[in-house]
Amino acid sequence: MSEYYLNLIESLTSRFGNAITGSSVHFGEANIVVDKAQLQQVATALRDEAEFKFEELIDLSGVDYSEYGDGIWQGPRFAVAYHLISIKHNHRLRVKVFADDEMPVVDSVVNIWSSANWYEREAFDLFGIVFDGHPDLRRILTDYGFIGHPFRKDFPLTGHVEMRYDPEKRRVIYQPVTIEPRVNQVRVVRDDHRYTGRMPEES
């Protein structure tokens, strides 16, 4: 499978040239990083051109890289990962687009794959990534009137507010969280000798 995907990556890089800023095959999966400004053209071509034919957008996911590898991350803070699948050729591809801090804006792909609609709303809700050209960019998973973007790494796991019934006011109220944030099991990074020599095959 790796062989096949290396070939695919090769034809992708020759087709799109400098629109692809990075590519690799890792764990038997093809990854490309696409320049943010050219996402629309690349995505349209990926869907329509006979060689690629990625008819379905299977998944769209936001990623916040701000704490990646305990601060070794140098690139832009946010990324959007698109998982594409081709029913015709039976192959998959992961496309990544990076967006910078504070006001991450990425072009919407709803006009290319309709399934992006809710996925982009979700990524907006959870990460605050704005999708330019989305027809209806509302929050989707969090509560009505929620403040913040919960899946960002600087958002605490316990959240900021909690909800309870106030018997005096006789209604449900919000109050600051009373739970102490705690770490049951610490995060550790180990150099595992078993994993050396299994790095991505750059092409």
Binding site: H26, F27, G28, E29, N31, E55, E56, L57, I58, D59, S61, V63, D64, E67, Y68, G69, D70, A81, H83, I87, N90, R92, R94, W113, S114, S115, N117, W118, Y119, E122, R139, I140, L141, T142, D143, P150, F151, L157, V183, N184, Q185, V186, R187, V188, V189, R190, D192, R194, Y195, R198, P200
Partner: protein
Amino acid sequence: MSEIRNYTLNFGPQHPAAHGVLRLVLEMDGEVIERADPHVGLLHRGTEKLAESKPFNQSLPYMDRLDYVSMMCNEHGYVLALEKMLGVEVPIRAQYIRVMFDEITRILNHMMWLGTHALDIGAMTVFLYCFREREDLMDMYEAVSGARMHAAYYRAGGVYRDLPDQMPQYELSKWKNEKDVKRLNENRRGSLLDFIEDFTNRFPGYVDDYETLLTDNRIWKQRTVGIGVVSPERAKQLGFTGAMLRGSGVEWDLRKKQPYEVYDRVKFDIPVGVNGDCYDRYLVRVEELRQSNRIIKQCIDWLRKNPGPVMLDDHKFTPPPREEMKGNMESLIHHFKLFTEGYTLPAGEAYAAVEHPKGEFGIYLVTDGANKPYRLKIRAPGFVHLSAMNEMASGHMLADVVAIIGSMDVVFGEIDR
């Protein structure tokens, strides 16, 4: 002439036909839907964020609670992602057990779907029959994992333990007399495999019963034929997978196209619909019941003949046996390290998907070499299917919305995550 205005109707989140906590805001023109706007997230628990705070193994039980009617398939997606990154292959017997329980889970899921879908449209009997069969399937879960629903049975590196040699028995009680107990224990005398085999022998007859009740039923057809039609092109555009995609006539099944575990060694067919309406999706799923039954039978045959390990022997990520732990220093250390710290995965990202009863269930895992995931994204099939609600329901009557929700087979545990 009086002025006619559209009005907005709030459907759910407490409506029994909303299959959980779906709130649907419908804009109606008389009885016709103009626009359907599902509001989801009422069951949002932040599973993905929670998983980021725990070692890999501890997130496994969360997977059960995603789509809480097809528990083991969710686990399967997760352990496949872990195994892909660990770069290990599980023992063949574990693969067969996984395939068998995936198919048991598929029946379990489709029974739930068929029962509630029929109940929504007005057929009470099917619901009762389906839940009778679910009882047996849950007993299989219980026998193998100790839990009737949230099994946590699949582990990275295999399955938690081998199939038991005996089934739990019913005992005399205030509620069950000797005759009842004898009848209930009738098919529980042998091993779990005997019990499952007994079920697979009975099951095709049950499916015939459901089909007698529904397939040619005039009311059933009136309610489902031509409702919520999705063309193959639109189905792909909308990101459909699983029975929703096959119902629209696209032959696509990960078990065949991108086989994982031993799906390339068992024989089964993929049913495909023609019209892409609720009725075709019903037919596809009912045929899947029969095919699942067929796969289970093949797995039983293989499992009877081939004993062997069900878990990898690499104690860097699988727990050592209890006896060894008590007598062997190294095992003790492995046990301690595994349960206090867990294991690390190589830095990188991977996506693993299984053919879940509802569609493609995928896990996108980003790690930075730590013992916890950096980002875990769950690709829930129901989420995408429900996002097509507006397109599928527009122009239909209010009562058809119920049929469409039913044929989507939505469960909010996975949609809201």
